[in-house]
Assembly symmetry: C2
Homo-oligomer: 331 residues x 2
Amino acid sequence: MDDGRRRPVTIADIAAATGVATSTVSRALSRPGRVSAATRERIQAAARELDYVPHPTARALASGRTGTVALVVSDVTNPFYFGMIRGTQQQLKAAGYAHLLIDTEDSGEHEIEMLHTMRRSLDGAILGASRLPARSLVALADEIPLVTVNRNVRGVPSVVIDTPAGIAQAVEHLVSLGHRDIVYVSGPQQSWSNQARWQAMKAALERHKLGAQRVGPFPSGRGSGTAAADAVLNSGATACVAFNDLFAIGMLTRLRERGVRVPADLSVVGCDDIFGADFSNPPLTTLTAPIEQAGRVAVSLLVSRLEHQPLRRAVVLPTYLTVRDSTGPRR
Amino acid sequence: MDDGRRRPVTIADIAAATGVATSTVSRALSRPGRVSAATRERIQAAARELDYVPHPTARALASGRTGTVALVVSDVTNPFYFGMIRGTQQQLKAAGYAHLLIDTEDSGEHEIEMLHTMRRSLDGAILGASRLPARSLVALADEIPLVTVNRNVRGVPSVVIDTPAGIAQAVEHLVSLGHRDIVYVSGPQQSWSNQARWQAMKAALERHKLGAQRVGPFPSGRGSGTAAADAVLNSGATACVAFNDLFAIGMLTRLRERGVRVPADLSVVGCDDIFGADFSNPPLTTLTAPIEQAGRVAVSLLVSRLEHQPLRRAVVLPTYLTVRDSTGPRR
DNA sequence: ATGAAAGCGCTAACAG
DNA sequence: CTGTTAGCGCTTTCAT
């Protein structure tokens, strides 16, 4: 039938075929409500007949809406983002948007530069973990609709996962197991989350009249687990809370190598409950973060903002402690 | 300085500022070679001065090139794709393309439908694990430049990971450990990879004059591990090769529950070496697949095809056996 | 090497 | 409700 090499059919073809103006075709296809039932039928029939497929680019140029939203992450490599990619993907698809994936390689420069460059081809962006200073963020938000995740900046809608509350639970848990020397394994200093977690940890320990100490900071990545494990051991602590699960899992490996038993000799708590935390050895006690949900909510916020009133809010998602086998009584 | 609400600067502004035609500005910016050094300088200076940012949509509409490539996966949820997302992301960024992520939810219908709809807004697509029958694939390839991964269809450039060769190694490994009853844990039947692996397994076992049996098929996902483990146990085999690591890891969990020791009572081999395979309990012996590399190569193939001659080839990437602790001598 | 002019395919006032 | 008329911002012949 088709030879596939024919000039693609446009609304002009449909207009010709049905004897109406192109604008009417456009309406019938994009805003069926604004056209009489009769002509609408005819036009849609013709469109089907001719196997018409709208040209997204043309539509975007004329309307200013691209139907595309970007998810911006600092490092696709980080399993933490997998959940976010999932969540945003699902919700964006449901809302009829295309999903662009941007990796900033942990650089604020890249982040601002890429978004600046692509701003005309996006309807909005979700910043998975912005490395940008507050003022840059606000400036960016003025160029393109933004929603941040785990990053609270005045004026920019955001969804934050309340890990600090979870940290308090974790400390409670460890204290109730008899631990008194609990150390925080610090992640990258530029990380907003890292700061928040450390603050929460200090506060929680103080409430128990315990001193707060930390080791690190260590760079992102499982590899940091080695140095981190050694540092914790060296600190003399009997329990630790790691910046994230990647660290914690890396530590588990290292501790095993060194013949340190978990949790008998050292209890370790992770953060985020990423893929793998439940089948590591031992399974990791961790703060389960609703990452996927965060992604979905972020999309909802953005989409409702794009399609309705500019209701800019902040959403806080709870975290809870999932106790598995990497924590136990102080021996 | 800026109030951010000014009309965005266009090439017309640059043309006005430098006293040349818009076409010259266009050339100076997109094909610097086609313009005299002097005017090129002036134009580029003006562009910088005015903080000009090209409008990707307008460019796309006029030129037909969108600078966007889609990665199509059947389920973002599957950790197998994480590596592919990484690899394609890296290489696409390097080549200056934007990275669109499409999830087909395991449905061939969705796959063809979404690509058909978006074809005008893409320069090409990489099919991570197409569910499409060969003829549909060929038809699609006629609409939009395609590269497949782990799917070999005549006329469509592809990169396939040679897991079958790896399977042979795995069988060798198990046989050398004394196993004679080795069962294959089958994945979804529509999966091309699953078929290929089973065939390879049969062939390898035959070479050793051993019978080939399989359990399943089971649906994708870690959850299948439970049923799979039970089925394998029931088969009386002392070793098994699972369709993929997700299955294998799920099995590990189930076997532990049932008090079956791995590898003492049962050896298990996975496929792909996804994130987590090295820190599961016990760490998984598996076929390490260069998934990330596959993603990169797929992008290279596609990009070179988009920018040069249509050299359509198939690339085969090797797999190797990574022996960890989930396999051991037959007891 | 540069300019003029014609679109790319669609949407969006503005009339009627 | 529908047609007319302008563009959206850029690339691309075709002249010069």
